[in-house]
Symmetry: C2
Subunit: 150 residues, 2 copies
Amino acid sequence: MSQLDTGPIEAYLHEHIPLSKAMGVGVRSATRDRVVLSAPLEPNINHRGTVFGGSAGALAILAAWTLLHLRLTSEGHHVHLVVQRQAMSYEKPIRGCFHATSVLPSSNAWSRFTTTLRRRRRARIRTTSSLESDGQTVGRFEGEFVAVSQ
Amino acid sequence: MSQLDTGPIEAYLHEHIPLSKAMGVGVRSATRDRVVLSAPLEPNINHRGTVFGGSAGALAILAAWTLLHLRLTSEGHHVHLVVQRQAMSYEKPIRGCFHATSVLPSSNAWSRFTTTLRRRRRARIRTTSSLESDGQTVGRFEGEFVAVSQ
């Protein structure tokens, strides 16, 4: 799947969600099926010298939101998209740069989501992100997002 | 329950978890049973002009962590305390200053937690925070934390 230009996506996040700038969030790669965001340790450090759980959660939400938003836009949908619930497990302490990878739900789930969105102008979808650092999975995220057509 | 001095708690958070400073987190009140943290909209705003879900989650984690840490310290425990899993629901968009209130679990749950901590030097506890803004509950948080004696 062809890579999208990551610069404008990163600029959008930094401009519209200033906490992403404070966190040092970067867009490592983006396609219509998969988004990888990264962040360095320093601005996200906690009292233990590892990544603050709130930063890890925020990066996971951003990765999932960015992927859904990119994909919806590329399919011609103009929506407001917000997180409605999320859950996260922290499996290992994160001791350095970390990244969150969000992949699109199954094509069946995506098809149901966009069909409902077209029909009712409002639909919800579940998505997941995984957090990695130093080549290991360090956390898992699940979020439910609601899209409302504009 | 007597109020603790909020200044040193706020200074500790800002120094050791720099994202809390970037978010503008303040300690509104703190007792051994209840901690209320607050944050303004501006540094936590999203593309919709409301609070970014990652900021809301981070404030809830901080409130829960701060209460558990204060209470454990006041009872003479010296622990490392980290979030292991968390879940949050976003019930309403947050359009201004918001705060997270964390209250201590039941005295039975607390007693089991500290007994296990003394016996095994490691214990876990579930706790909740609620998010409020403009007099309304706007989100609910549940977190599981692990304490390890030092």
